[in-house]
Every structure is written in C-alpha cells, then in structure tokens.
C-alpha cells in the first residue's frame, strides 16, 4: 500500500484522500481476471469490426469539424435522445452517471496503480467523493426509471428481451453494490471525509445501526469480489449485446451522413456493379453494417413510421435488427471480393424475404418519409437501405407491385408516372389561356428570371392544376419574368429513384439536365418538394448545377421584396402540413409558415406532429401509386390528425400531399368540413383579393 492511511482525524482538506484496496488482499487476482475479461471483450469488438470492414468503401471521415459538432450534440448533449422526454432523461442520467463512474475508476487507477497521487485534496472531496456520489445516485434513478418503463409503462415500441432484462439487472447490481462498498468502507474505516459522499455516509450510518465493524468488513470483502466479477462479466459480455452501442453509437454518429436527406441514396456504377441494388450483406458499405450494430433497439423509428402506425408490416427497427442478426450469423469475410458483373449473381447472404420485416411486402410499404432516420438517436439510416433492397427487387428481380410497374412503365414510355392521365403537360396553361391569361413558354421569353417547373403532379393531376395556375398568376402579378418548359418537361426521376429504378432515374435526370443546359436555365421555382429535392440534392452529382427554390420560399421572397402585396388576409383558421421532402429532407419549415402568417388573419394552428417531426401524407416513395388496404391508409391517419385541430383549411405545399390529404379528409371527415389548399392558392386569394384575377 503506497498510500497514507486515511483514518487520521479530519483536518486539512488538502490532505483528504482515501486508502485504496484497504480491505483487499490478493489484488493480483483482479489483474489476472482482467486479462481474460479484456480478451473476451476484445474478441467481441474485433469480430464486429472485421464484419464492418468486409463492407464496401464509403467516405465518412471527411469534414471532421462538422462531425465533431455532431458528436457533441448527439453523444455528449444527447439532443436526439432527449427528444423522447422520459427515455431521454434516464438515458442522459445513465450515460453521464456511468461516464463519471468510469472516470472515477480511472482516477483510482492513476492514483494507485500508476502511483501518481491525484486522488487527494479538494479534487478528492469535490469530484471523487461528492460529485461521483451524486452522479452515481442519478444513475441509480435512471435505472429505476428504466425499470418503470420496461415493466410498468411498457410502451409498444419496446420489445422486451431477456438480454435487456439481464443488462438492466446487472446495472442495478453494479451501482447498488458500489454504494454498499463505499458505505461499508466509510463505516469500517471511520473515514473522516466520509460525509463528502452523501449516499455512502447514509449507507454507513444505516449499516452501523444493524451490524458491527467486523461484520461489515467481511461483508465488504465478499461484496467487493462480487462487484468486481459482475463488472468484469458485464465488460466481457457487452460487445455481444446491445450494449455494444456504447462503442458503436458514438462512432456511428461521427460517421453519419452529413448531406441533406435526398443526398443519402447511393449511386450505382452501372458498368461495373456486380448487382444493381443490394440483396446480400457484403454488398452494403461498412457504414451500413456499422449502422446495424449501432442499433440500441429503442424502437423510436418504428413508433414514428407512418406505415407502421396504420398497422402495416413495415417496421424500420425490425428491419435493422433482423439484418443485424443476419450479420451476426454470417461470415462476411468469407466472400472473396466482389463478384464479376455477370448474369448469375448469387447473393451470398440474402436479405430480402429472409424475415417478415425484410419481406417484399414490407419494403413496398415505405413512403420514404425519413421519419425513422430523423428519429434515430444514433444516426442510423434505415431509408437508404430500404431503397437499396427495393433496387434489387426492381432492377435485378424485376418483381414489384403491378401498380408501381405501371408507374415505372409510364415513366419509361411517357416521361411521367401517371398512367392513364387525360391531361397533357400544357393543359393547365391552355385553360388559363382561354381565360385570357398567357403562360409564357421558354422559347417566348428572352433570358427569363426563373423557370416555373410545373412537375408531373402539378400538371397532370386535375386537382393540382388549380395550384399551378395560381402560382403562374402570382409570378406574373409580381412582375417576375418567368417561363415554363411546357411539353419539354419530363419527370425529374424522383418516383423512379424511390421505387428503386436508379437506371431510369439517371436517364430522366440526364434528359432534364440537357434541356436545362440548352435553354440556359439558372433558377428553377417549383411547387413540388419531390422535384425540389431531386434538383437540389441529386442533380448536382449528375452535372446539373442550378439554383432551385420551392415556391413557398420564392413567394416569401417576393412578398418580402414588396413585389407582391397581400390585399385581403385569409379569414379562415389554417393548419399547415409539412411535406416530408420539404421539411424533413430539406429542413425547410419556416418559409411556408411565414408566408401563411402574413396572409392569414388568424394565427397558424399546428398539428401535434409538425415541422421536422411531421407525419407523412402517405404519398411519397411511389406509394401514391399503390392501392393501400382500406383500413391501413396513411393519408386517412394524417387526415384525422388535421381534423383533430379546429382548423378549417389544411395548407399544403406539395401536389402529392394535396391529393392524398384531400382523399383522406373526404374519407374520414364525417360532417366536418375541411378544405385542402396549396399555399399558392391561399396567397393568390389574398393577393388578388378576389377582385383582380390577373
């Protein structure tokens, strides 16, 4: 024992410390046990690391500054975790409690084993005693909250497993025995600084009331070894359990995708890729594989998934976990390099259809809303994996729902996904023409300020033509020199991409980029967030660099510059539905609200789920082309959420949302009346004041 005895009378705080291993002999056994513990731990970690390394390359160590910021926000401050108040709170307590206890143990190690006397004086009193004791207590509170949630509240999103119960019990035992050991040491050594450890001194006082010093000494001895074994046991076991996330979560958050939602899908090298899309684990990137191991099983993704909410099979959590289990069972390193680009690509570790959560049915229920990605506290990217798997079904298997095949077929033949539409791309403009309002086409305008991109949804669906007409009239009213492409427009490729036909997406995108180039287009305004997202996040990689604005942003700008004036404020009560591809995928939630605030008399009413946490209309990811079971319609669920407010109108900023919500509201509204209007329609009413129609 290098240390001075601690049981001198309390005196100078500068001398405060405690004796390490005061009651323990044969301490070498501890060091001996540490060796196998670390070996088992190391093997567990190495096993996983080896698997990740079998994945394909992807750059995720660039922009370190941004990455470190992410780690500070989501690991140290636990911002994403704290979004779920209760679970976030106990996780925060456990996280900081365990970190503090680990630091405290390290301090002991430095002090005792390295012989650097750090554990003394005020540091010993304030940190090692008081602070550590309090944080330990808070961790205990965290464990209690965890237990309450797991056994009493039992939220649907948690799937209890024996492993998680085991881990919970171990944590409790470790913290509990830690306090007992501290208390008994204080009691038995009559520690003069004992009162700096509040929990310890209470335990000490309580124990002395029922037992004598000798009994406490033996209890301490026994419990010390027990505590040690449990701690070592947990360390050795951790990498084989979901506790692995202690390592994987920070790593995963550091290596997260930093691009906006739309930029997260992979590109495919069609000349060399052994398979188009993914149906075998080794085809994923190392980051995808790391994602699988980082899952904490918290279930937040599934609880916000619109498809799951309405009772469909899709569960992003189970999708990730089932792949994780598959990864556990698979020896990825055994696959020798990428296969040749030949016909008979045989997946080594097939994913699709291997479990219910990975069934084709589930894959074709995803609206690509990215609520799961947004909700995940450890930055797991569920959506891009779903698209990877869809790609395989579409491009390699050529098997997917018939209505989606029709949409893809229509995209191939006609450049739009609306099979059977009665309209051409210019009908909405021609209808305005008959009312004496001319919409200029690109050839007619010299050097237009902006290109008005109507989009397939805005031009070919009757309901949305009104919104597109309102927008054109607004632009003209504001004196914007604009033009449309008319028949030269072709789908941006968004539906093809989300459905999984990357090849078709690239073909369509290149066609548009070429059109933009020939017409020298620099700024695009569109009312479709899907088009917006594709232009903004996906075209640059294909060489399509131009400015793109969602119409809500552009209209807000026009009003801000005084080019448009609100003459009559809307009198109705309005709520706003955030389109996923505007809010969540691109972080644009304010401009539309600002616009509505300016044009309406009453304050905007918010639905419970809004902004980045909004709930999908059910129309993204190609799902507006799929017939959903009548009792499992996402749009009706969102309609109910809108109807639950006392708004009279739902404002939207997306042609798909417009039709999905209108259908949903009509189906479930009963006697209640509720209108669905594109923001352009609302602003047009306010600007024209019902008098001058341009």
């Amino acid at each position: 024992m290098i240390l001075a005895a601690a049981n001198n009378a309390a005196g100078n705080a500068a001398d405060a410390t405690r004796q390490v291993l005061w009651n323990i002999s044969h301490a070498w056994v501890m060091y001996a046990l540490l060796v196998p513990t670390m070996l088992i731990f190391g093997r567990g970690v190495y096993r996983q690391v080896k698997k990740w390394r079998a994945g394909r390359p992807v750059q995720r160590f660039d922009r370190p500054g941004e990455r470190i910021k992410r780690v500070v926000r989501h690991v140290l401050l636990q911002q994403a975790t704290l979004r779920d108040r209760f679970a976030g709170a106990y996780h925060f307590l456990l996280f900081w409690g365990m970190i503090t206890l680990t630091i405290a143990t390290t301090v002991v190690l430095i002090h005792h084993d390295l012989g650097l006397p750090v554990m003394q004086g005020r540091f010993y009193l304030y940190f090692q005693s008081l602070f550590v004791d309090c944080l330990g207590l808070l961790a205990m509170v965290g464990v209690a909250m965890l237990a309450v949630r797991r056994w009493i509240v039992r939220p649907k999103k948690l799937v209890p497993t024996r492993e998680s119960t085991g881990l919970l019990v171990l944590l409790f035992v470790i913290l509990g025995t830690g306090f007992l050991l501290e208390g008994w040491r204080i009691a038995a050594t009559n520690d003069p600084w004992g009162r700096w450890s509040p929990v310890g001194s209470i335990v000490a006082a309580g124990s002395l009331a029922v037992a004598n010093v000798e009994t406490l000494k033996s209890a301490h001895l026994f419990t010390w070894w027990f505590h040690l074994l449990i701690v070592f046991g947990l360390i050795a076991w951790a990498p084989y359990t979901k506790l692995l996330h202690v390592l994987t979560a920070p790593l995963n958050i550091y290596t997260a995708n930093l691009d906006a939602g739309g930029g997260t899908l992979k590109t495919i090298d069609f000349d060399n890729a052994p398979s188009f899309g993914i149906n075998s684990l080794e085809q994923f990137t190392w980051k995808d594989l790391l994602d699988l191991d980082a899952c904490t099983e918290c279930g937040r993704c599934t609880s916000v998934c619109p498809a799951n909410t309405v009772g469909k099979q899709l569960s992003p959590r189970d999708l990730i976990l089932d792949m994780q289990h598959l990864l556990d069972r698979s020896d990825l390193a055994s696959v020798s390099g990428p296969a040749d680009a030949d016909d008979d690509y045989e997946p080594a570790f097939p994913v699709i259809g291997s479990t219910a959560a990975l069934s084709p049915e589930a894959l074709w229920q995803c609206t690509s809303c990215a609520a799961c990605v947004e909700a995940c506290p450890v930055s797991i990217e569920q959506l891009p994996k779903i698209i990877d798997l869809r790609r395989f079904e579409v491009m390699e298997n050529a098997k997917f729902p018939q209505t989606l095949q029709d949409a893809v077929g229509s995209l191939e033949e006609r450049g739009h996904p609306f099979k059977g539409t009665q309209f051409s791309r210019v009908d909405w403009a021609q209808a305005l023409h008959t009312q004496g309002f001319d919409v200029p086409t690109i050839g007619d305008v010299q050097d237009p300020e902006v290109l008005l991109w109507a989009g397939c949804g805005g031009a070919l669906v009757e309901r949305n033509q009104k919104s597109t007409q309102a927008l054109a009239q607004l632009l003209s009213k504001a004196g914007v020199k604009y033009a449309i492409l008319g028949r030269e427009e072709t789908c941006t490729g968004d539906p093809a991409r989300r459905i999984g036909n990357e090849f078709l997406f690239e073909t369509l995108a290149q066609q548009n980029i070429e059109t933009f180039r020939t017409n020298n287009i620099r700024t695009v305004v569109t009312s479709c967030p899907h088009c917006f997202n594709t232009f903004r996040n996906e075209y640059p990689r294909l060489g399509g660099e131009f400015e793109v604005m969602h119409h809500t942003t552009f209209l807000a700008k026009l009003i801000g510059e005084g080019r448009l004036t609100i003459n009559a404020e809307a009198t109705e009560k309005i709520t706003f539905h955030d389109p996923c591809y505007l809010g969540r995928h691109n972080g644009i939630t304010e401009p539309p609200r600002e616009l509505l605030q300016r044009s309406a008399r009453a304050p905007l009413i918010e639905m419970a789920q809004h902004g980045q946490q909004s709930f999908c209309c059910g129309g993204g990811g190609g799902m507006s082309f799929v017939d959903e079971a009548p009792d499992q319609r996402v749009n009706q669920e969102r309609a109910r959420q809108a109807l639950a407010t006392d708004a009279e109108t739902v404002a939207v900023g997306c042609p798909f949302c417009t039709t999905m919500l209108e259908d949903g509201i009509n189906a479930v509204k009963g006697d209640r009346e509720m209108a669905v209007k594109d923001i352009a329609e609302i602003i047009w009413e306010s600007v024209s004041g019902g008098v001058d129609s341009g």
């Binding site: 298997n397 018939q402 095949q405 539409t421």
Partner: protein, 270 residues
C-alpha cells in the same frame, strides 16, 4: 417448340385526348407529341410465349414490320430474352392501317426466317383496332387459326388453347403448326425486363430487312392493297346540350322528363 411472336409499334393509345391529331387528307394519325409504344396485346402474346417457353423447351423469335423506330419494340423483346429478333423496315402506308399488306409482308418474312410451330399475334392493335392481321396471316401461310386465346399448354405434340368467347371459355386441342391471336387475361400480364437485360439488349444482334429482301413483287403487295380502302378518317366531335325540364309538380316534371327521353331515344333510332 419454335415460337414466333409478331409485335407492332403503335401510337400511344394513352395520348391525352386533346393531343390526338389526324391528317384527314392522308387518312392517317399524326404522331405529334404522342409516344410510340408496343401494342399491349402484342405484349400479351409475347408474355404467353415466354411462359410457354418456361414450361416446355423452345425458342422465341420476335418479328415486327414498321418504321426504323420499331426497333425499340424489338429491343424490349430482346431484353425479355427472346432468342431472335427481326425487323422488316417499312414506312407503312396509312400508319399500318392495312392488315392485308401487313399479313402478306409478315408471311413472306416468316417463310424466310424458317419454320415455326406456333405463330402468335395480338388480337388487335390499339391504333386501328381492326383485328384482321392474325386471320389474314393464317390465310397467307395456309395454316389453321385460333383467335382470342389467353392460355396455351403444350400437349401430346400439339397444343391446348384456351380462348375467350362471348359466353365464357373454349378449350381447343390443335395440331401444330398454327397461328393464334392472343387476348389479355390475368395470366399474361406482361412482365418487365431486368435493367441489366435492357442495357445488354442494345448489344444483341437484330436482323433488319427491307420489303425488297422478302422476294415479293410490287404486284404481290399491290394485290393485297386492293383488299381494303380507308374512305375517310375523322375525330368524332362530342357535343352536349343542357335542357331544363319544366313543370309545376314533381309528377308533371317526371312525366315531361320521361316523354323527353322517349323522344330523344326515338330520334337516335335506338
């Protein structure tokens, strides 16, 4: 089994009504902004052939007559893994309205291509909807003909064909070779090609002939042309009239309404 499938490229039947244009003088449709697509019943025929090949061994050849653009139709068939493809390049007079000429050209091409057990066509094309080519082709080739087939099964050296009739289905046992036209059913919904196969389809061989390569004389073709003449072609104009029925009581209105309907029906000669 050697199967030959005839495929026709047509103007997209889904062209929005306001975009559909014709040239009345030439008595032909104008492509305008419409796309060119494979006739849907031809796709059903190809699907029927592909399924038949999966169940019993054999080879599929695809044949099309049309302008150079019809190559697309054949490339798509190649992507679906037909074994051979042949295009007879011809700017068809009247946009392929003339079934008799088409049948004669097809027959000549088929003779040149080889011998086939089963020759499949769509039951009609989505442009003119004449539904004549199948029967006329059988006539040209001197082969038996079964129309409106939606399922084919190989059986004892021949085939069993299921055909749709006005009242239900008929099953026909037939010797080979024969010509059949295919209609759509739940079973022959056309499949879609795999992306890799689409990419590869452009590198696969494709036979291209001119009508002159088929050994037909001018006369052979013109004699077929005599069989049919399109006299006029126009887009029917849709008009609507709105009329309010007058009357004091509801009975009076109902009676007046009934009388009006009777008059209208009579005038229309129904």
């Amino acid at each position: 089994m050697q199967i030959l499938v005839c495929l026709k490229q047509i103007l997209d039947p889904e062209v929005p009504p306001r975009d559909f244009q014709i040239d009345r003088g030439r008595r032909a449709a104008i492509q305008g902004s419409a796309n060119l697509v494979t006739n849907i019943f031809c796709e059903n025929a190809l699907e029927t052939a592909l399924q038949l090949r999966e169940r019993s061994e054999g080879e599929i050849s695809a044949l099309s007559i049309g302008p150079a653009s019809a190559e697309d139709v054949l490339r798509k068939a190649i992507a679906l893994k037909v074994d051979h493809a042949c295009l007879v390049e011809q700017e068809v007079a009247g946009s392929g309205s003339h079934s008799a000429i088409t049948a004669r050209l097809l027959a000549a091409a088929i003779r040149k291509l080889g011998t086939f057990d089963l020759i499949l066509l769509g039951r009609e094309a989505g442009d003119w909807g004449a539904g004549q080519t199948g029967g006329l082709l059988a006539e040209e080739l001197g082969l038996p003909f079964v129309g409106f087939v939606d399922h084919i099964e190989a059986a004892d050296g021949g085939v069993v064909l299921r055909r749709q009739t006005d009242t239900g289905w008929e099953k026909v046992r037939a010797e080979l070779p024969l010509v059949a036209t295919i209609t759509n059913s739940e079973e022959n919904v056309p499949r879609i090609p795999k992306t890799r196969d689409i990419m590869k389809s452009h590198r696969k061989p494709l036979t291209t002939w001119k009508p002159s390569d088929l050994g037909l004389s001018e006369e052979d073709v013109s004699s077929a042309a005599d069989a049919l003449e399109v006299v006029d072609l126009y887009i029917p104009e849709k008009t609507g009239e709105c009329e309010f029925i007058q009357g004091e009581s509801i009975e009076e209105k109902a009676n007046a309404f009934a009388a009006r309907i009777a008059a209208v029906v009579q005038r229309a000669g129904v």
